[in-house]
Symmetry: C4
Subunit: 220 residues, 4 copies
């Protein structure tokens, strides 16, 4: 069996999606790219998260050919592969229909930097991608065209995709995009909101990405 360790990690990450309240029934998926072989490990199509085992994960090459696995790969596989082919820095892609992020996507709205948590985590407005058909590489193209430096993008009338240099980074983006979308949603019903000034966005993002979690974190 190819890539047993990555199968294990991808299986675990997929099962974290329902645990984090980001997916319902079989929607949503996690993939990872193996840096050595270039192969991609992804969730099988249409399976319940709680039943997934590492053995169920599907290994595909960048052309979408299944090179190891008994099940069909996620119907979003082509979108994941397009991102890997065009973004060398991305090692993991996650897709969900999490409620609040998808609500913004369905209303056709991006999420401006209304509070420090968005500046910290995303460093910029969370962008809205155009509507793109599911199944082919249209979604992947729109992600690459519109995601910019954000680790998350809202895909119009569909859901959310996140990317990261690791599974953990992509998972964090998936959790945090829903968390900030939820807070901004509730704030938006209370009155008009104002984005942070650009200098504050930059200062927060710089502190968060360079010093947070280090031994000098409190010196900022």
């Amino acid at each position: 069996m190819l890539l047993p360790e990555l199968r294990e990690q991808v299986c675990t990450a997929n099962r974290q999606l329902p645990a984090a309240g980001l997916v319902t029934w079989t929607s949503g998926n996690v993939s990872v790219r193996d840096p050595e072989t270039g192969l991609v490990v992804i969730k099988p199509s249409g399976r319940m998260f709680d039943d997934l085992t590492p053995n169920d994960m599907v290994v595909v090459d960048l052309d979408g050919k299944v090179v190891d696995g008994d099940l069909g790969p996620s119907s979003d596989t082509a979108a994941h592969l397009y991102v890997y082919a065009n973004r060398d820095d991305v090692r993991s892609v996650i897709h969900t229909h999490s409620t609040f992020a998808t609500a913004f996507a369905t209303a056709g709205l991006s999420i401006p930097v209304y509070m420090t948590a968005i500046a910290d985590e995303f460093g910029c407005e969370i962008p809205l991608g155009d509507y793109a058909a599911i199944g082919g590489d249209a979604i992947g193209k729109e992600i690459c065209r519109s995601i910019g430096r954000s680790p998350a993008i809202l895909m119009k009338q569909h859901g959310v995709f996140t990317i990261g240099a690791s599974i953990k980074a992509a998972l964090k983006a998936a959790v945090m995009v829903e968390d900030v979308a939820k807070t901004v949603w509730y704030a938006s019903q209370l009155g008009p909101l104002t984005p942070l000034p650009e200098a504050e966005i930059t200062a927060n993002h710089e502190r968060y990405t360079h010093r947070y979690g280090t031994a000098t974190a409190s010196q900022g």
Copy 2:
């Protein structure tokens, strides 16, 4: 005891309703039709979900006569039976008052195909049925008249009914109608929403129902 295996399945499915957050206290019910005998196994009336055992399930014939069981059948039994008598393709019926679906039902609104998840799962607008009295077959008649090809219908000022070729299919529809109602509800407060074009609805539904979960799922 008649139909022990179906009693077990119906009991399990009823207990999944509170686990999925679709029901409160004793509201809601699941039934299944036995294809061989034509008998229907349904939840007893007014019992707490967590106390249900397979033995508590009630077996009725299509006229509503209890043929096995010590408890009274659900007060929605006549509605279930009317659907079975008039829809050969239906093997399971589920009724809930799940919050968001019932909110649309209470406001007298159907749920248009505002996003891909609705196209995937329902293939069309989730219809609104007219108000119908509880207890007799008025609800069953309105379901058959108005549900069309959707697996779910919102019943005005009441709740939601779903149907399926299996308990799992009806349960999936009950879970997904609440999930998409929730997302659309949040989207609806952000601004005006636009349904997907008919061609996109058809393309998504065709992909989802014909290729999703198969070994060629990624080829679409």
Copy 3:
């Protein structure tokens, strides 16, 4: 120790409040009246629900005098006692600040019979009581004056009180008033709502209270 069985039941019911999501920290309380002695068993004041033991429950007479117990009784004790003194049919009183019911109370709104679940459970509009000071018997007086035949009342800018012929009935009312308040809240944001006609309210309530949960439940 007086009334060991009722202490056990009141303790269990109090601990069900956080389990049902109806209370936060120490707010909320359950009491029961012993039909033989007329004594009332109630939650102690200011204790965390998860720490409660039957021994912590406080036994008071109808004048509020502690006749057994080491802790002070709930600060809502006088309200409970006034209800017991003036409503012979009530054996249990419950008070919560559950989110949606309290939102209607805070906005100064009753909850009309917008859907069948309210007709079933309450049989009428869920009334709004005037603001009344906490601590004395003003709340009890307002409950008796305004609750009518409903098992629940919203107390303006405060929370919700429910009554029942048993702890289970009062607890069911506390769970269901929050459940219907939640659904009506979501419905209210979608557009104007219309109460059910009086004849439908009566028919639903009659069916629910007389035949629901019995062996002839499906005959209605």
Copy 4:
């Protein structure tokens, strides 16, 4: 290892934040001041709550110098220290981005005393602090300037800080500010709200803080 007991308490309190639904991923932090040495024990920066052990806690002096601990202290450490240096009565500080409190903060709104639970717990409007940069002592200064007698303050476009004479008091304020923000949020969508009269606010707060939880609680 310095202050083993306080490390244990601070670790436990930090882990209660996700359990109470107040934080997501690594956001949020709890600290305590040792009354004898004046040292402060605080959560390390950027660590997942579920992985925290007492040994991970960081001990700093009032100048922010790490005196014991292998990890970097929370990026909010300077804010906590400023409060300790300027409020002798405060022994614990907590920071979260809890959804509803942060929604009010993001919309730039304080929370008036619309219901008794706010009068009980806070005794006054929950104030809104001006926007202040994260990392230095600007947040601490704004907390001290604007929190008044409330145990909680909403920091504009950021989140919430609470203070207390004990970890439990600060934690209770963090739980209750989110609970009342949630209820007020839902009430605010139903129509215009009116604060309680000043005399009722005072009466409720006096009863709650002086008699609640005591053996004479029911005498009020």
